[in-house]
Point group: C2
């Protein structure tokens, strides 16, 4: 783990890893990013991305990441196997597994690569949103520790309260940034892709058992674009497509300054209504 | 491979595999599903799903699948390693690798599981579409062999011709079914999730180098729903979110009879304009 005299942001402490040696590294859960059972999925995804970023053979920056939440992660240390399966001229494919006591809790695949300027076009529309300062800050219940590390200001689809009834759609749009503020990078963007509380809570107007089964991120922003964003809030929006048979799926978009689409993210979630 | 006296549909021949023994099996590319370089990505994805389905320890039916196209697959035989990483009470997580001559060409992860009836709701809207019989059949250029196995009738976003100019959006909506007709199952649905020609062709009005890097499918239909669909056409629609830096991403929806959302599918694609 890093030995440093400057103050380490809690996010960096949470995704900190030992150096990657022979495709293996180790980390430790962080209490500040605890969820109801085990850690916040977003911090686990960010930690797996960070393992690739810290691998000595890494090529370029993230293009895609898929994380499968196979079983609960207990508070404590964990082992990560991070293997470059195939390196091409401009893309590199990774297989990643997180285990505790020899039992795999999380699997992932990632594609990294070199980005080159090409014709570009963004077809999806950024939702309209008032300035963050014009919106109140929302809080998730205190026992959801990880949410305390995010300043969330909802434009629509705020966290249900005891007075909330059913809602006709599952869209939430919010300004989000790390609290305390921290310059955005691919790891923190990865965690933010999982910042949406379960869409079933919004539709049904109440909390219920739910957990992400599999999550995918497509990264559109290169490091220069993220550096220009610095620590300003990201506009995040997500909506479910279909609920049924104990699962629902959703798609989210994370927008930066200048109508830049930073990432598109998808997940399938287990729920018990 | 199957030894049978009834006629085997070309799709079943293409995804046919030796029995899975010790988490390993073998298959062979099929010329009818060839793409410009190597096989159609959809048939590779379907073959990997089929490897899980044929594993003696499989639990339930598909919930999600992610396939990463790491390198080209040559015409000929291939080896598949298909490993149940973790089996829970109602979900099972799989890691899959396809290799030729010891070199990995394709990695994948899948989640299978038991579906149970719950509250359900479909939030996305099925696009309006005339009946298939009221639309002409489209053909991709003859050198794209796999496309000959699909009857495609476009509602919008038809295949560009030499006269096509640039297009303002990248939406294609089409009726699609196997040709010859074949009752839908999870394997054929998987292949159909990759039936959309690259969205950059539509936007720029011309063919250009492009290939899927990573593809994810969330399955909403259980086997009963697919059985009820039988061999009727599926309404498939897809649109890109953002093009830039040599990649674009898209989301697609596959709809069955009765406004049933069968699958949501996402992919990130390399392109060279």
């Amino acid at each position: 783990m890093s030995d440093t005299t400057v103050t380490t942001h809690v996010f960096d402490a949470a995704v900190d890893l030992f150096p990657v040696v022979d495709d293996r590294t180790e980390g430790h859960t962080h209490p500040a990013y605890a969820n109801m059972v085990g850690p916040f999925g977003g911090i686990t995804a960010a930690t797996l991305l960070r393992a690739v970023e810290r691998h000595p053979d890494v090529l370029g920056t993230p293009i895609s990441l898929t994380v499968n939440f196979a079983g609960p992660i207990s508070d404590g240390p964990f082992d990560i196997a991070v293997r470059p399966v195939r390196t091409n001229r401009s893309t590199q494919h990774w297989s990643i597994e997180l285990a505790q006591n020899g039992e795999v809790t999380t699997t992932a695949t990632a594609v990294f690569g070199l980005h080159r300027p090409t014709w570009s076009s963004t077809e999806v529309q950024r939702p309209d949103a008032p300035a963050p300062a014009d919106l109140h800050r929302s809080y998730l219940p205190e026992f959801i520790a990880w949410a305390g590390n995010y300043e969330m200001r909802f434009v629509e689809g705020d966290v249900p309260t005891e007075q909330s009834g059913e809602h006709t759609d599952s869209t939430s749009t919010l300004w989000v940034r790390d609290d305390p503020a921290r310059p955005l990078d691919h790891a923190s963007l990865t965690a933010m892709c999982d910042v949406f509380y379960p869409r079933a809570f919004l539709r049904l107007g109440r909390m219920l058992p739910a957990g992400t089964v599999s999550m995918t991120i497509y990264y559109h922003a290169d490091p220069d674009v993220l550096a220009a964003q610095a620590d300003r809030p990201v506009l995040a929006t997500a909506r479910a497509h279909r609920f049924g048979n104990g699962f629902f799926d959703q798609t989210g978009y994370l927008w930066g300054e200048g109508d830049e689409l930073f990432a598109t993210t998808h997940q399938v979630v287990y729920f018990k209504p």
